[in-house]
């Protein structure tokens, strides 16, 4: 967490949403409730362990993050209709390379929408000649991304 933008984002989002700086923010689609505050970091809905009173399986005194998210996606004022519906969308696996980077930057550059080819159902060559970064280049924006090509 070195650059200014990341620090500004953290200063805003940490106190309000208990932001965990995953670098790929989905707050708008989860009733403005951060799914990374779920002890299991679930991004696609509540697990089966929610208690009868709506308490978290892991921390019984805490209200289940997803009980909250589901409720707020319906009731929060000013939330656009489109965002309310997005709670039922499938969010892709977390890209751990983006941890502790600015999700604002990743949003503007499109980096936070980059998923592995297999996520969108594309099969590539069985022999991974120039994996894994050929599809990433086009998303390089004017900002320096924290993304370092792996040695292959």
């Amino acid at each position: 967490m070195t650059d200014l933008l990341t620090r500004v984002e953290d200063a805003v989002k940490k106190p309000v949403w208990d932001c965990r700086t995953c670098g790929q923010c989905v707050l708008h689609s989860t009733g403005m409730t951060c799914p990374m505050t779920c002890p299991k970091t679930l991004r696609n809905g509540p697990c089966g362990g929610v208690r009868e009173d709506g308490g978290c399986e892991v921390k019984p005194d805490m209200r289940c993050v997803w009980v909250k998210a589901e409720e707020r996606s319906r009731t929060l004022p000013l939330l656009p209709h489109k965002w309310r519906e997005e709670i039922n969308h499938l969010r892709p696996p977390v890209d751990n390379q983006l941890e502790k980077t600015s999700s604002w930057r990743n949003l503007f550059t499109g980096r936070d929408r980059v998923t592995p080819a297999g996520w969108s159902g594309e099969a590539t060559a069985a022999d991974p000649v120039d994996w894994p970064l050929t599809s990433m280049g086009e998303f390089e924006g004017p900002f320096t991304t924290p993304f370092h090509p792996r040695e292959g």
């Binding site: 299991k40 970091t41 696609n44 809905g45 089966g48 362990g49 589901e70 297999g118 590539t124």
Partner: protein, 317 residues
């Protein structure tokens, strides 16, 4: 096509699945002994993955053993213990040995087990896991790297219709169904009204046209066992009247069985339900009794019995 897929697609009778009790040692012979109490009564047997966050012989090893012993395994996978690389490797490794049915779960938290100090992984969540395994079945890893030929997998998952947020459970089941889950084994539950509402919602949304619902019942032998689940298993609540029914009975063990039988009959009576999943904490032969009392017993003359016979020669012998 797996036997389970064939049976669920045919839909000619309710499908029955069971669960092999977790096991640690004793060789494949130990798997065989435990399997003998279940396999003759069910269509497929779940191989669990560190249930309740306790380490045991692995899901892959147990699923392979079940397959080699002539029964139909359903390999459970939880998201708690392994990252996406390890999970994909497990599925491909099990598939090498002929394991086809996969059941994707989020998994209990590490704090539910006897090693709460462990790091929880959850690199994928349940719905993501379904999509990743479905991708393997379509012939590619998550990276996109091709798998040729693709493993013949039949992918399912779980859902809990009995835990909050109750009104969201159908939507969550739909998310799983839309991303590849062809069957859903439901959590153990004692609230018939919640199951009814959930199943009705699944039928109304069209989910049951592509995804089979298998509600779960649990064989217990005392009010204490029910009380324990109610108090200590997050996501399971047992209504006061069910507890009272068993604790107030002259023969609580028998009443506990009757309660399970009633729940199973009710679940199977719901339009949209494809069968039943049975978990057994009695270990006294009650699985066979329950299947018999439900009128779903396999015998040598029935098509399913012959199927069992053809596939289960090693168990019979």
């Amino acid at each position: 096509m797996s036997t389970l897929e064939r049976l669920l697609s045919a839909g000619t009778r309710p499908v029955v699945t069971g669960e092999l009790p977790a096991l640690d040692t004793g060789g494949v012979e130990a798997v065989k002994q435990r399997l003998e109490g279940i396999a003759p009564h069910v269509d497929a047997v779940n191989a669990t993955d560190n249930p309740a966050a306790h380490a045991h012989a692995s899901n892959v090893a147990i699923a392979v053993a079940i397959h080699q012993l002539g029964a139909e395994p359903i390999m459970q996978i939880v998201c708690r213990d392994k990252n996406r690389l390890a999970i994909q490797a497990d599925v491909m490794g099990a598939a090498l040995f002929g394991v086809e049915n996969i059941c994707a779960l989020t998994g209990d938290d590490v704090t539910a087990g006897d090693e709460p100090e462990a790091r929880r992984v959850f690199d994928l969540d349940g719905p993501q896991l379904i999509k990743v395994v479905t991708g393997l079945a379509e012939g590619h890893y998550l990276s996109g790297r091709a798998i040729d030929p693709a493993p013949p997998l039949f992918v399912g998952a779980v859902e809990n219709p009995y835990a909050p947020p109750l009104d969201h459970r159908v939507a969550r089941a739909l998310k799983k169904s839309n991303n590849g889950a062809r069957f859903l084994q439901l959590q153990i539950g004692y609230h018939e009204d919640r199951l009814e509402k959930f199943v009705a919602g699944c039928v109304e949304s069209g989910l049951t046209e592509r995804t089979a619902l298998l509600p779960t019942v649990c064989l217990t032998r005392s009010a204490r066992a029910l009380g324990f689940m109610d108090e200590h298993v997050a996501g399971i609540s047992v209504p006061e009247e069910s507890l009272a029914r068993v604790s107030g009975a002259a023969d609580p063990a028998e009443e506990s069985y009757q309660l399970t039988l009633d729940l199973a009959r009710h679940a199977l009576s719901l339009p949209g339900v494809s069968g039943i999943h049975i978990t057994d904490f009695r270990h006294d032969g009650s699985v066979g009794r329950l299947v018999g009392d439900l009128g779903l017993a396999r015998d040598a003359d029935s098509p399913s019995g012959q199927e069992k016979h053809a596939h289960g020669s090693q168990l019979a012998g």
